[in-house]
Subunit: 231 residues, 2 copies
DNA sequence: CCGCGATCGGAAATCACGTTCTCATTGTCT
DNA sequence: AGACAATGAGAACGTGATTTCCGATCGCGG
C-alpha cells in the first residue's frame, strides 16, 4: 500500500462499523468480541486525546488495549477502518450530546445558533478542555475526514450523517417557523457543517494567529448571513 | 520520522523556498542550482496533475526530473519541503492570474465576486480542465494544506499570503466604496478564503453527491450574505 | 593539459510503519 | 477430556522516505 493509498482504502460495506467488526465472530462469542472491539476503540480515543492527533501507530493501539496485532486485524480491516469507526462514534456521540444541549432552547433560530456555536467550540477546543464526551475526536480527525472526503464521499457522508440530520432538522424547523427562507435545506446543511468544522479547525490561513481566532459568535454571524437570516 | 511526523516536519526557516533551497549551493553555482531546483518543482507539478493528488513518491519526482535522490535531498529537506515549495508557488501563480482576471471588472463587489467564483472553480476543477497555470495544484493539495495548518500555522499562513493579501485588498476596496461594512477585514478574508477552498474541495459531507455540488454562484451567495453584503 | 576538491549519479542501506503470517497457547463447548 | 476456535507474541514482508557509500565528473588554478 502506498502512502497515498493510506488515505484511500476500501472501507468495506456500508453497515455500521460495530456490526461489521463484530459480525466476524461466531454468534455465541459475540459479546466477548464486542468488548474487545470496544477496547480497541477506547484505546484509540485515549491516544488521540493524548497526542491531539492521529500521531499514533497501530502498535500503540494494540499495546494500549492489551491485545495483539493479530486480534486487531481480525476485527478491523486496517487503521483506516479503525479511524472511521472512531469518527462515526464521535459524530454519533456529538449529535446526542448536542441534542441534549439544544433542549434548553425553543426558538428555532436560537437552536440553530446553539448548534453552530457549540459544534464550533468542540471543533476548535483542545480535547482536554471539553471533558464530557467521546466526540472530542472531532477536531483531531479533521485531516482523516478530508482524506475520506477525497477518496470516498459516500462514507464521509454516512459517517457524518448523525450531525447532518440533526442540523437539517433544525434548518427545517427554522424554515417552517418563517425565520428562514431556504431554497435547498440539505445543501445549506452541508455548507454549514463543513464551514463550521473546517474553519474551526484553523481559522487562520491568513493573518496573525491571535487576532484571527474567530470566535464561535463570529462564525455564527457569518453563517446566519450566508443562509439569509438576519444578522 | 514516523508516518505521523510526515505531517509535522520542521520546515526550516521562513525565507522563500527558492532561496532556502538554492542557498545550499555555492555562490558561483547558483544559477545551475536554481535550474535543478526548478526541474524538481516542474516534475512535481506534472506528477500532481497526472495523479490528481499527492500519490507519487520522491523516487518518482527524482526519475521524472532526471536527477538523483542524493541531489533531491541536497536541495530539499524532504518531501514536505518540496510540497510546501510547490504550494507556495501555486498560491503565488494563482494570485497573479487572479489579478489579471480581475482587471476586467471595476465594481468592487463584482471584483470580489469574481475572485471567489474563480478561486472556487480552480479549487473544484480537475487540473486538466483548467490548463492555463501552475496554480492548479490548489485542489490536489488540500490535504497537504490541512496537515500544514495542523502542525505549522505560521507556514500555512505565509504560504497562502499572496491570495490572502489580494482578497484583503478587494475587501478593503469594497469597504471604502461603501458596498460593505466590515468590522475586521483580515478576519473576513481568512474566513472567505478557507470557506471557499475547503468547501470547494468537497461540498458534500451530507446529502447525495450530485444534488449537493454547490456551484460557484451558490458559494458566492453564501459568502456575500456571510459578510453582510446584499444577496 | 594536469590534478585536486566540490559535486553528482546510482544504488544499496536504514527506518518506520502498516499489514500478514506462523506457531504455540489458551479457552470454550460438548 | 478432546476437538477446535480464538489468541498472544513476534517474526516477516512491502512500500516509501531518508541516509549513506563509492566511484565518476566537473570546474578551475597552475
Amino acid at each position: 500500500m502506498t502512502n497515498a493509498d493510506a488515505h484511500a482504502p476500501d472501507l468495506g460495506s456500508q453497515a455500521p462499523w460495530r456490526d461489521r467488526a463484530v459480525a466476524r465472530s461466531l454468534d455465541g462469542a459475540r459479546s466477548r468480541a464486542e468488548e474487545r472491539v470496544q477496547r480497541f476503540l477506547d484505546a484509540t480515543v485515549e491516544l488521540i486525546r493524548e497526542n491531539d492527533g492521529l500521531d499514533f501507530t497501530v502498535q500503540d493501539v494494540v499495546a494500549r488495549s492489551n491485545q495483539s496485532l493479530r486480534s486487531f486485524y481480525q476485527f478491523f480491516d486496517g487503521k483506516q477502518h479503525l479511524l472511521l469507526a472512531v469518527y462515526e462514534g464521535s459524530m454519533q456521540a456529538a449529535s446526542v450530546t448536542l441534542l441534549e444541549t439544544l433542549a434548553s432552547e425553543t426558538d428555532p433560530m436560537q437552536r440553530l445558533r446553539l448548534f453552530v456555536t457549540t459544534l464550533y467550540k468542540w471543533s476548535v477546543a483542545d480535547p482536554i478542555e471539553v471533558p464530557p464526551a467521546p466526540h472530542l475526536a472531532v477536531r483531531s480527525m479533521a485531516d482523516f475526514l478530508l482524506g475520506l472526503l477525497a477518496t470516498d464521499r459516500e462514507k464521509a457522508r454516512s459517517a457524518s450523517a448523525p450531525l447532518f440530520d440533526l442540523l437539517l432538522k433544525l434548518l427545517e424547523e427554522a424554515k417552517e417557523s418563517g425565520a428562514l427562507t431556504l431554497a435547498n435545506p440539505r445543501r445549506s446543511a452541508a455548507l454549514i457543517l463543513q464551514t463550521t468544522m473546517f474553519n474551526a479547525y484553523s481559522m487562520n490561513v491568513g493573518g496573525d494567529s491571535e487576532a484571527h481566532e474567530a470566535s464561535a459568535e463570529e462564525m455564527w454571524a457569518f453563517i446566519v448571513g450566508g443562509i439569509g437570516g438576519r444578522p
